[in-house]
Symmetry: C2
DNA sequence: CATTGATCAATGATCGATCATATGATTCTA
DNA sequence: TAGAATCATATGATCGATCATTGATCAATG
């Protein structure tokens, strides 16, 4: 059993319908189909994708959690106007969370250094190519590895909820911002972790803030 | 137009149905109607409240975001088993966010000191009573005031998403944990803010961590 | 006896239709 | 004609019903 996207005829497997609808809308936003501030009408999407209103609603709620859209009771959803400011707000929060992550992880980060170095190696290799998307993903993976090393599930889930990858992608497409994925900086961080440097949390914090616009 | 809770006959206004259902479930969890680990069946609640499945689903998704329940695709939702560990995980995250908040707020926190002192005054007064719930709420309000002073909307929303009030209430009811709402400590913090003490962020961080179990 | 496959009940996921509200157009009144 | 009242339309919110997946039960098989 499957659905068909009326526009592209691409078959969509049933499992995780709202998930797929979410991807569809994200794509529509990042390609500019829906301009910032524009309304997103549940039923219109439902009709277009050949699904019903329910899954679309769920998708919109998920996008609201990612701060990609705003919605008011009885008045529907609209695409947020991502200003530079919106983007800038992410960095202090992310930096603060990752600083905490290192504080928590430092005791048992020693056993994870291999994974971090492997990660960073891949980033260094990708830096040779011009696949920005891949560089970004690898760079984020490096940070994710650290956050996971903290062993605090809430911290991970809060960090993931920032939707860093998504927002960075949008920022690339919409604001044409630069990406700096300096594996050299990451190497320095790894060294700090290795020697259990008490300044390591702050080092990572500042490293993140350096990305900020 | 209204619905009636079949159990209590309390009329529920239509507006914000999923909101009210959420409160109903939260209440059921905190009073032990649903034990930790127990399944929460969408249709059973829907029938009991005389509503349909949709709003119940939405309520459950909200509770999932608050980490009060867990749910798996096609397998429904169950009450999380809030261990001491779950509770403990909140504190480092909260402490990290509030440290960041002070870092951001410090420059323009001077103008907000009055509000903070008023807040803390109310807490001091409530400490005379034995209304723990009120003390907790006031204590949290003090911290919220600081987070809001940072002027970073994302930070606020992430901090709010921790559901500190809810979790503290549950912790009170389930684990019978103590609450320390030391307005004296808050007064010290205010002093640090007043003199723009660069250690203020860390002071708040440590203050929060002192609450941790 | 353990394993596999079929069957079935429970229930989450989805659907199509209806209800209710917000917004804008239209009419009415002073 | 300005402002209030009324109506029409679009659409979010909710409903009742159906589809599909899961997990349990149990028979058949090796």
């Amino acid at each position: 059993m499957y659905c068909v996207n009326a526009a592209t005829d691409a078959p969509l497997l049933r499992a995780g319908l709202s998930h797929q609808i979410r991807e569809f809308i994200v794509d529509g936003i990042s390609t500019g189909r829906w301009a910032p501030g524009e309304r997103i009408v549940e039923r219109r999407i439902a009709t277009e994708l050949g699904v019903s209103q329910g899954p679309v609603r769920e998708a919109l709620r998920q996008l609201e959690a990612l701060r990609l859209i705003e919605s008011l009771p009885n008045r529907g959803a609209r695409v947020r106007a991502f200003t530079e400011e919106d983007l800038a707000e992410i960095f202090p929060v992310r930096a603060g969370l990752e600083r905490t992550a290192v504080e928590l992880a430092l005791p048992h980060l020693a056993g994870r250094l291999d994974a971090l170095e492997a990660q960073n190696q891949r980033l260094a290799e990708a830096a040779e190519t011009d696949d920005l998307q891949a560089q970004m993903r690898l760079s984020i993976d490096f940070h994710r590895e650290i956050v996971e090393a903290a062993g605090n599930r809430l911290l991970i889930s809060v960090w993931e909820s920032l939707g860093i990858e998504l927002w960075t992608t949008l920022s690339l497409r919409i604001h044409r911002t630069e990406i700096y994925s300096k594996s050299a900086e990451h190497a320095q961080l790894i060294e700090a972790f290795r020697r259990g440097d008490p300044a390591a949390p702050q080092l990572l914090h500042d490293h993140v803030m350096n990305y900020a616009p």
